[in-house]
Symmetry: C2
Subunit: 142 residues, 2 copies
DNA sequence: ATAATACATTATATTTATTCTAAACTATTG
DNA sequence: CAATAGTTTAGAATAAATATAATGTATTAT
């Protein structure tokens, strides 16, 4: 597996030793063809299906949070009963389909640069995220 | 109290009968000089302090959610351990101070119209929210 | 008015995501 | 190969949100 080095590197940089469990988490997160959204539960399920390694919830939480701190994963700002995470850490935005409870990426090129004219003294902007909530477009109803 | 009629109206339109408890909730939410952000717990505490009415958590949850459905309150899209709500239902955005866990309104005039070029077939955009996360601006650290 | 009915409130229990804990385990170092 | 530092895990603890069921209150029809 040629990816192992890259995963070990990511883990070390996140302050974590490269263990079996953590490398498995990396494989699921960073080996995918496309970036994707997930909840912790979904991630655990994917690991269980793909591997014959058992990884506990606690390990998954800890690893995911270490990656977020380091910027290898992003948390998606959504009010939901559970947190959604994103393996796409490039600057981009989201549609949230309120009827299907589904997130859809919006490439940053599809949104004009968000220009905020106001500043807060002593503070700087670290990130800007746009959430566009969408619903069915039934022309008939107002 | 000249406001009572207005509250009764809001409640009726939300499908709720105007009861003592619900009117008290309205007074706290809609009688303030300025709009504000709150969590359910904070709201309960304000009511307890302002009035000698006891209102249960369940009633507060139900009433707040009815108002959200009707558009009299907004939920702020933030990943936090508890939900934040806003009495400002006009179109506007937020700074979220990650160090102090504090929300700051950004008036819509302070953000250029967010133009999303992409559409999803059969769906229309219901709302667009911008969250700008801010942190201390210590020029010294990278 | 008052009985019957529909809706409200509340305390409490339940559910569920997340965090914490402590014991068992593994790898690394001296 | 013993000591130490860091890991994993199952299960406990926490806390927000929701559901429940008993009691209370308002409304309606008689």
């Amino acid at each position: 597996m040629a990816y192992a080095e890259q995963y070990i590197d990511k883990l070390r940089k996140s302050g974590l030793r490269p263990t079996k469990q953590r490398i498995k988490i990396c494989e699921v997160l960073f080996d995918a063809e496309k970036t994707f959204h997930f909840t912790i539960k979904e991630l655990v399920k994917i690991i269980e299906n793909q591997a014959n390694i058992k990884v506990s919830l606690a390990t998954v939480y800890n690893t995911v949070h270490a990656f977020i701190r380091k910027g290898y994963l992003k948390e998606i700002p959504l009010n939901a009963s559970q947190s959604y995470y994103d393996t796409n850490v490039t600057h981009h935005h989201h549609f949230f389909d309120e009827e299907e409870n589904k997130l859809i990426d919006i490439h940053q090129d599809d949104v004009d640069e968000v220009n905020i004219k106001r500043t807060i003294p002593g503070k700087k902007i670290r990130s800007v995220e746009v959430i566009a909530k969408i619903v069915s477009d039934n022309q008939s109803q107002k």
